[in-house]
Amino acid sequence: MRKYILLAVILLIGIAFFFFGGNTNNNEYKVFKNAVMPTPVQIAGFALGDDVPFLAVNLLKFKEKAEYGDGRETNLTGAQAYAIYADEVLEHLSKVGAEPILGGGVSRLILGEVEELWDVVAVVRYPNRKAMYQMATSDGYMESEKHRTAGLAGQLNIEVAEGELDFE
């Protein structure tokens, strides 16, 4: 008899958890994936849209240790390898009329939940999509980019149309 009561209690707890467990907000967990390289659809997106300035909001996650695509030995951390890229990219940006706006190390998440928090936020303004594509496909950039892929575990890059405070 006790066994059945125990079983019933476990079942009830299970049902209660199903309905109320963990979900204190209205919205559900959403899946996201950081990436190092854009998908073909994302690349095609650079050819579309208006010829207007935009912001690129980068959320970066570094590898613990840098790993270069050409297999070279290195003692750099992921953050250190990416820092080489971040330094060199300034010149590549200015060549196409783009400029870094602000950036910095993430300290914590005040609102929301993320399975694995990003390390750095960096915001860049580009004159248009073509300029970004032009930079990303230039030889000089691709040389610097080796440090980026060596250091970066993955990222989100959000394109934002800068607007007024009214959000409309």
């Binding site: 204190t24 907000n25 209205n26 919205n27 559900e28 967990y29 959403k30 899946v31 996201f32 994936k33 950081n34 990436a35 190092v36 854009p38 994302q42 997106g45 849209g49 935009f54 912001l55 690129a56 909001v57 820092a83 971040a86 706006i101 602000l102 950036g103 910095g104 190390g105 993430v106 300290s107 914590r108 998440l109 005040i110 609102l111 929301g112 939940e113 993320v114 399975e115 694995e116 928090l117 990003w118 750095v120 936020v121 960096a122 915001v123 993955g154 990222q155 989100l156 890059n157 959000i158 394109e159 934002v160 149309a161 800068e162 607007g163 007024e164 405070l165 009214d166 959000f167 409309e168």
Partner: protein
């Protein structure tokens, strides 16, 4: 990986406001997701969309920020994701700078702010709010 937008900080996140460095400048990146239709917590009738309700908050919060020495730095609409994948892309972003965590708490405790905040919670489905320290790449 998983991500979940929230409307309010949880208990641990509230406690963190008062821990560690509460005195130096911080920048907040808000990734915002709006409700389709605004819903006010006091149950009032409204025809506003979530974005429209949040916009009322967005305009009013500028003054609340200034009162504590903060500043709205960037706002904008998300047009697409250039890299990575997100199941449900955010609608807008907002970047604000505060002189300190203490200043941010001060703003949130202000009764005028709380009045404006009604439009925020009416329009916002949820958000991420990422705190970072500018310059420390």
């Amino acid at each position: 990986m998983e991500v979940k937008n929230h409307l309010r900080p949880n208990k641990a996140q509230m406690e963190e406001f008062f821990e560690g460095d509460t005195e130096t400048e911080i920048t907040m990146l808000n990734l915002l997701k709006f409700k389709e239709k605004a819903e006010y917590e006091d149950g009032r009738k409204t025809d506003l969309t979530g974005r429209e309700a949040y916009s009322i908050y967005g305009k009013e919060v500028v003054e609340h920020l200034e009162k504590v020495g903060g500043k709205s730095v960037i706002t904008g609409k998300v047009s697409r994701l250039m890299l990575g994948e997100v199941e449900d892309l955010w609608d807008s972003i907002a970047l604000a700078r505060y002189p300190s965590r203490k200043a941010m708490v001060e703003m949130m405790m202000d009764s005028d702010y709380q009045e404006s905040e009604k439009h925020r919670s009416a329009g916002l489905e949820g958000q991420l709010n990422i705190e970072f320290k500018e310059g420390s790449l």
